[in-house]
């Protein structure tokens, strides 16, 4: 595509600011509130987007979708309460930063990693769109099983402090994930006779309970979220802290680049989504880091990795929609509805017949990310002040709003009770040293694993060796084994070096 045309598309996309900005505002609010996903909001607003012309409608939907991923990280950092599944991994280092009085820096890291991660992957997608369109074809059920298993190995990484308890927590989550009808025959399993559990344990009440409610129960023991010894530092936050956050992002720029590419690839794969991408990115980031022991204590790359990855997903989501006409998830499906309603014929011919439209949509995404970088960054300073509110006000507000939010996904009052139940389980788990993140990884990835695993077994006519039948799958298996063994080898070698140093000291 010629530079002149790209420039024209860019200018045309800038002209859509009047739909991009409201979309961003709505996306940020939707992202902050757990239970209000981009998908649900896009469905509610479908009449509006169908009414708009195709360019404005797509710009609005893209702005809302991209900003939702960013918005989910805000409560994850400030209250340990992820607004979206893709922000769960952000809690691991974002919330510890808040407790240390670095909420502003953590928010800046989240915003800049999201914006730059999104910018990088959008530009990359535009440059390599025809090639990327083929990636989805190489990932079949066997390869997807390995991708999900790789995500599950994060349980072991999180459980490093008490491996047995951590793995039990992960398997408990996986067990909860098996509740509901099976993906092949549709027969109910372990539903306690409740129709509400036939679709499985809903993710939003589980997420709200395990994170938000249990954290609120734990939070009330202190006057504010920020530890008293760090309160002075938190209250003295200045614009220089925003710059410090930006400097941290710049320092880990390579981290932003490669973790956002993980997000892009996962986004192309059907059914995986931002949650898997964020966990994989966090896992890889910790695995390849020179200081893995700092992860979980408020380490900046622990915020950058999941945030760049979940925004990287946004560029990937549209690739199968345009290239194959097959949406990889609900968001892609809604966009497909709008596109086909306006007479856009999706599939390989789209790149020949209407390439300018495809690149135009990605240009709108690029503009949205530029707006995001410019407009949302300054907000970090003011947003971070929420954590000064005394917990005697914050806890009731969190509990009441998340109870309402638990209703929003399926509109069952049952889900409010379920969230409370998960809240109690989450609180007991926290107090007794079982990682709630490991439980949630199990709940999130268990059904995905089962779905692809059973599909692979059916393809292989019941032979489990099908899982080792593809070259790409086998390469991924080697990476899974490496992910499990590498930390152990590294820890052993560090212990060896330490022992040698001590011996040398004695001598």
């Amino acid at each position: 595509m010629k530079d002149g045309i790209l420039l024209e598309l860019f200018v045309r996309s800038l002209g859509l600011w009047w739909v991009i900005l409201p979309g961003m505002l709505l996306g940020t609010i939707v992202g902050i509130l757990p239970g209000f996903s981009a998908q649900n909001t896009l469905i509610i607003l479908l009449p509006l987007t169908l009414y708009m012309d195709i360019n404005s409608g797509m710009a609005f939907m893209i702005a809302l979708y991209c900003t939702t991923q960013l918005g989910g990280g805000i409560p994850a950092i400030l209250f340990n309460m992820p607004g979206e599944g893709g922000a769960v991994a952000t809690t691991l280092d974002g919330y510890p930063m808040t407790k240390k009085g670095q909420a502003q820096q953590a928010l800046v890291l989240c915003f800049s990693a999201s914006a730059f991660g999104g910018l990088i992957t959008t530009a990359l997608t535009m440059a390599t769109l025809p090639f990327l369109a083929k990636i989805g074809l190489y990932f079949r059920s066997v390869e997807m099983v390995v991708v999900i298993v790789f995500g599950l190995t994060l349980i072991a990484a999180i459980a490093a402090q008490d491996m047995l308890k951590g793995i039990i927590a992960g398997f408990f989550g996986l067990m909860i994930g098996t509740i509901g009808v099976d993906p092949v025959f549709g027969t109910p399993r372990a539903t306690f006779g409740l129709l509400e559990l036939y679709d499985g344990v809903p993710l939003i009440p589980a997420l709200i309970g395990l994170f938000a409610i249990s954290e609120a129960f734990a939070m009330l023991e202190s006057e504010t979220i920020v530890r008293s010894e760090h309160m002075t530092q938190a209250k003295s936050a200045r614009w220089s802290d925003t710059l410090e956050g930006l400097w941290m992002t710049g320092r880990y720029w390579w981290q932003t680049v490669w973790t956002s590419i993980i997000g892009l690839i996962i986004g192309i794969l059907p059914g995986a989504g931002s949650t898997v991408a964020a966990f994989l990115a966090y896992h890889y980031s910790k695995l390849l880091s020179k200081t893995p022991e700092l992860y979980g204590t408020g380490h900046p790359p622990g915020v950058i990795a999941p945030e760049s990855a979940n925004n990287g997903v946004t560029s990937g989501t549209l690739v199968p929609v345009f290239a194959l006409g097959i949406p990889g998830g609900t968001t892609g499906a809604i966009m497909t509805i709008v596109l086909t309603y306006h007479g856009i014929v999706l599939g390989p011919r789209l790149f020949i017949d209407n390439a300018q439209f495809v690149y135009g949509v990605y240009m709108q995404m690029l503009v949205c990310y530029i707006f995001m970088a410019l407009m949302i960054l300054p907000l970090a300073r003011y947003m971070s002040r929420v954590v000064w509110i005394p917990t005697r006000f914050l806890v009731p507000l969190i509990l009441s709003l998340v109870t309402i939010a638990a209703f929003s996904e399926r509109e069952y009052v049952f889900d409010m009770g379920l969230a409370l139940g998960f809240g109690v389980i989450g609180y007991i788990a926290r107090k007794t040293g079982y990682e709630v993140t490991a439980i949630l990884i199990g709940v999130l990835m268990g059904p995905l694993f089962e779905q692809y695993f059973l599909r692979a077994l059916r393809v292989g006519q019941g032979d489990p060796m099908i899982l080792f039948s593809s070259n790409l799958g086998n390469v991924l298996w080697v990476m899974v084994v490496a992910a499990l063994v590498l930390p152990y080898i590294r820890s052993r070698s560090q212990q060896g070096v330490l022992a040698q140093t001590q011996r040398a000291g004695h001598e």
Binding site: I44, L164, K165, I167, I168, A169, F171, F172, L174, M175, I176, T178, I179, D182, V184, F185, T187, R189, A190, T191, F192, L195, E196, A216, F217, L220, T391, R392, F393, V395, P396, L397, L399, S400, L401, T403, I404, F407, S408, R410, E411, Y412, V413, F414, M416, G417, L420, V424, I425, Y427, I428, K431, T432, G433, G446, F449, F453, L454, L457, R458
Partner: protein
């Protein structure tokens, strides 16, 4: 002056680990219930859950053995620790849980918005806020904002309650309840 070397050794503190059994016991209970409730299903339908359940039970047994050894050696006890201790924070937690349960149980009659107002007032009261102006002000503003955003703007199916002409669970459009009637 007494010789420090001849002082009697301090008794070893036994760490209470009784509460650590709760999560694994819940997990084992779920796994056993899964096995029982799926015995008549075809193998493909129960394979994944069975494998996960068996591994989970094996892991829990390993943990119980580990705990047992610690208790036998005098390092730990079966005490619950501070999880259910009768202190101010736990009383507040139980108060909050009671408020939330009451809200969820009565939401069809009281309605989401009015219930939210009382939930907020109740929760803040439990946590020690006593200023009537603050209690009513914070709760009222929050409830009105939620009503405007979710019910008025987004047309959420949150129960409206008697005040807005809804008579109870039967009058709502909850899909699961409707499914049960079918």
């Amino acid at each position: 002056m007494s010789n420090p070397d001849s002082a009697p050794p301090e008794p070893q503190v036994r760490v209470p680990i009784g509460a650590d059994f709760i999560i694994p016991l819940l997990a084992c209970g779920l796994a056993v219930y899964y096995f029982i409730s799926t015995t008549e299903l075809v193998w493909e339908a129960r394979a994944t859950g069975t494998v996960i359940g068996l591994v989970l039970i094996a892991l829990c047994i390993a943990l119980f053995v580990k705990f047992g050894l610690r208790i036998a050696s005098g390092q730990a006890s079966l005490g619950i620790g501070d999880l259910f201790r009768n202190d101010e924070f736990n009383r507040q937690r139980f108060g909050l849980m009671a408020m939330m349960t009451l809200y969820i149980v009565t939401i069809y009659w009281v309605g989401a918005t009015v219930g939210l107002f009382f939930l907020l007032v109740g929760c803040m009261w439990v946590l020690g806020v006593r200023s009537i102006r603050t209690l009513v002000g914070v709760a009222l503003i929050s409830a009105v904002l939620v009503h405007l955003a979710l019910i008025t703007l987004l047309d959420s199916k949150l129960p409206r309650g008697l005040l807005f002409g809804q008579s109870g669970p039967a009058a709502t459009e909850e899909p699961a309840k409707a499914g049960k009637k079918r």
